[in-house]
């Protein structure tokens, strides 16, 4: 899904998204306390949420879900150095998770430490090249760094803008718009004011690992053909052909409208001088006659970026064509 969640062409009002989505595909048995804490946080009762999460951690101090949530709560409570400590430790214990890097970046950015924020976000993307939130945040951070550089170029005092950024972050600390089925709403004091934030998000954090099924040999060949065709159209920078591989009800990565998503995809594909997408060791899992999922290792190379990551496409058969319904990072 690389690039499809890439930075949007326009800045999103300077808002950095604080990611509060949970991040385990391999489900971890989650204590009720964590779930309760999430609900309390959503309801704006951050102190109670903290108590719950501490309780969960007392029972299982290593539990990453609870640690992450604690980091989020502390961030919202403005206890930045404690939050930084938690998220930093999480990046050390789980270096492949993008979210702790992302949240570190949000905190750094709110402190005006855009270089640090940038490093964290770049790490986040390194772990998950498809991670939409990190891309959006990184876009914002690059723009802030650019504005600082322009400030120095033109001898303009950039300190005012830094202060404004910080304020706007606090005010607009909204949850991530259901980037993944696993997303959990972030509650912030101001979230209630934002109409978007009122939309209930999926509450269960983890996606249950899908049991691999035996693929039907003939059908899986068609599925693979479709996936190869998709990669070829992408490599040829044939945006229309590429978009033609997506089902009508394709689940856009950040919950944006199909139109917005297509527009941003066309821009991204158009912006690259060259693209090559290679697919290695694809594994097809049939989920019935009309549904399949394909996992593979994707190598994306453009004049701007090279990335390797695992990807899973969920496909549906519509009018005898296999179309992409959902695109996921990882297995």
């Amino acid at each position: 899904m690389l690039n499809s969640t890439a930075p949007r062409p326009s800045l999103r009002g300077g808002v950095l998204l604080l990611c509060v989505c949970a991040f385990f595909c391999a489900a971890v048995a989650r204590a009720d306390d964590v779930e309760d804490a999430q609900k309390l946080l959503k309801a704006g009762q951050s102190q109670q949420a903290l108590e719950r999460v501490n309780k969960a951690l007392a029972a299982n101090p290593k539990e990453p879900q609870a640690r992450f949530l604690k980091g989020v709560i502390l961030t919202e409570q403005g206890k930045q150095s404690e939050a930084i400590e938690i998220f930093t430790k999480l990046t050390q214990d789980y270096p492949s998770l993008p979210e702790p890097y992302n949240n570190l970046a949000v905190i750094y950015a709110s402190q005006g430490q855009y270089e640090k924020a940038r490093t964290s976000l770049e790490q986040s993307i390194r772990t998950h090249p498809t991670y939409a939130t990190a891309y959006e945040n990184l876009g914002d951070v690059y723009a802030k760094l650019a504005s600082q550089a322009y400030g120095k170029a033109l001898q303009i005092d950039a300190s005012n803008t830094t202060a404004q950024n910080k304020l706007s972050l606090v005010r607009e600390l909204v949850r991530e718009p259901s980037a993944k089925p696993a997303a959990v709403a972030a509650a912030s004091d101001t979230a209630k004011e934002a109409p978007k934030a009122a939309v209930p998000a999926a509450t269960v954090a983890a996606v249950a690992p899908k049991a691999p099924e035996k693929p039907a040999a003939d059908a899986s060949g068609d599925v693979l053909k479709a996936v190869n065709g998709w990669a070829q159209a992408w490599s040829k920078k044939d945006a229309s052909g590429y978009l033609g591989y997506y089902a009508k009800d394709f689940k856009t990565p950040a919950g944006e409208s199909r139109g917005d998503w297509e527009k941003s995809r066309r821009e991204r594909i158009g912006a690259a001088k060259s693209i090559s997408v290679a697919i290695e060791s694809p594994k097809v899992t049939m989920r019935g006659a009309d549904q399949a999922s394909v996992s593979f290792r994707q190598t994306y190379k453009s004049d701007k970026l090279t990335s390797k990551n695992r990807k899973t496409l969920e496909l549906v058969k519509v009018d005898n064509r296999w179309l992409i319904k959902e695109e996921k990072a990882g297995k």
């Binding site: 876009g139 650019a146 550089a149 322009y150 170029a153 033109l154």
Partner: protein
């Protein structure tokens, strides 16, 4: 293998150390053109680390970062809230620097102005105002050889200074007249200042006024200034001024300021030089011959010594020559510098060793020669 790598590394770091901030800026743009934005960003970051006052480098950095966030609309994609002039200044500086890097004069092309340097003049400076560039020439047996060139700032209102306060840089043939060391100056002048001889005899004759045209450095909080930002002075980055100042000889080093330098082949320059040198030799021989008519035929109808016109000068010279039974004139250390932006005016300076019955003297002299109807004539003559 490892040794080779180390050697290469050492060589690379040597060359990196030798490259100027401008070379490095140019390599940033090369990386951008080669579609390597990451390399470009690394290069500009290291440039900024070494030259934290180089504002232009920050502008490029801003663009490189912003390009990652959204498509750029222009070079120096600063928000519209910033006064356009400030960005425009940096854009122009970038253009001037890049153009100079990419359009270096070929080895056999020389500025038309430096016809001949005298043996004591180690260097000559030539300024191309339009290109915001100062070229440093070394004197190699009387002819110039380019050894360095630098970005310079000129007057806010451009060139062709005519009056006091017009914030323009004069066009003409000058020389450095003094060395004002850093400690005697405010920070505004940076690493030092070298006044030049504006207004010269030609400027006065044209009625041009003003004074205090200097070569100088920049304040400590900047690396360089916009292409057009001074009150008429020629401004260099402090490290550049320091390099140039090593080569300046007070009272000797010519500073020729042109609107746009005229470049000619070495052979064409030599032809012009030889033609004028022959005329000067005729003038000397005719003076020595005491044939006043032939001697005075070298002077233009428009001649003026500043005090005397041609009639007064002729009467005086005829009288003096007639009173002599012998005259010997020797010229030494002759320099010939063509005046930019004028048709065929050359400033000639020399040591004049005059001996006669009754009077002998040695003096430094300056003449302005002008080609009139295909013949070189003297427009001005006086002590230098």
């Amino acid at each position: 293998m490892k040794r080779l790598a180390l050697l290469l590394l050492a060589l690379f770091s040597l060359s990196a150390a030798a490259s100027t901030p401008e070379d490095r800026l140019s390599s940033v743009f090369q990386a951008i053109e080669a579609n390597q934005p990451d390399v470009a960003l690394k290069r500009v970051d290291s440039l900024i680390a070494d030259y934290p006052n180089f504002r232009l480098a920050y502008l490029v950095r801003g663009d490189l970062l912003l390009a990652r966030a959204r498509p750029l609309e222009t070079f120096g994609n600063v928000l519209k809230t910033v006064p356009e002039g400030r960005v425009a200044d940096l854009r122009e500086e970038a253009l001037a620097r890049l153009r100079a890097q990419r359009q270096r004069p070929a080895d056999d092309r020389l500025p038309r102005y430096v016809l001949q340097l005298n043996k004591d003049q180690k260097n000559a400076l030539v300024v191309d105002a339009r290109r915001s560039r100062l070229y440093v020439y070394a004197n190699e047996g009387g002819t110039p050889k380019l050894i360095a060139d630098y970005y310079v700032t000129i007057g806010k209102n451009g060139i062709e200074k005519t009056r006091e306060g017009d914030q323009k840089t004069p066009v003409g043939v000058y020389h450095v007249t003094a060395n004002l060391p850093r400690k005697k100056l405010t920070d505004f002048y940076g690493a030092g200042a070298f006044p030049i001889s504006y207004p010269n005899e030609w400027d006065r004759r044209q009625g041009r006024s003003g004074h205090g045209i200097w070569l100088h450095g920049v304040p400590s909080n900047v690396y360089s200034r916009a292409p057009r930002a001074s009150d008429g002075c020629i401004v260099l980055a402090n490290p550049d001024l320091e390099s140039v100042s090593q080569r300046l000889q007070i009272g000797l080093t010519p500073v020729i300021i042109a609107d746009e330098v005229e470049w000619v082949d070495r052979s064409a320059l030599e032809t012009e030089r030889a033609g004028l040198a022959a005329e000067i030799e005729h003038w000397r021989a005719d003076w020595q011959s005491r044939d006043s008519t032939r001697y005075l035929a070298h002077y233009s109808q428009r001649f003026s010594s500043g005090k005397e016109n041609l009639a007064a000068w002729s009467a005086h010279k005829r009288k003096v020559n007639a009173s002599k039974s012998w005259i010997k004139v020797n010229l030494g250390r002759v320099a010939m510098l063509r005046y930019p932006h004028e048709s065929d005016v050359v400033v000639v300076t020399f040591d004049q060793d005059y001996k006669s019955n009754g009077l002998s003297n040695v003096m430094k002299k300056r003449q302005y020669w002008m080609k009139e109807d295909g013949r070189w004539k003297i427009l001005y003559e006086g002590a230098a």
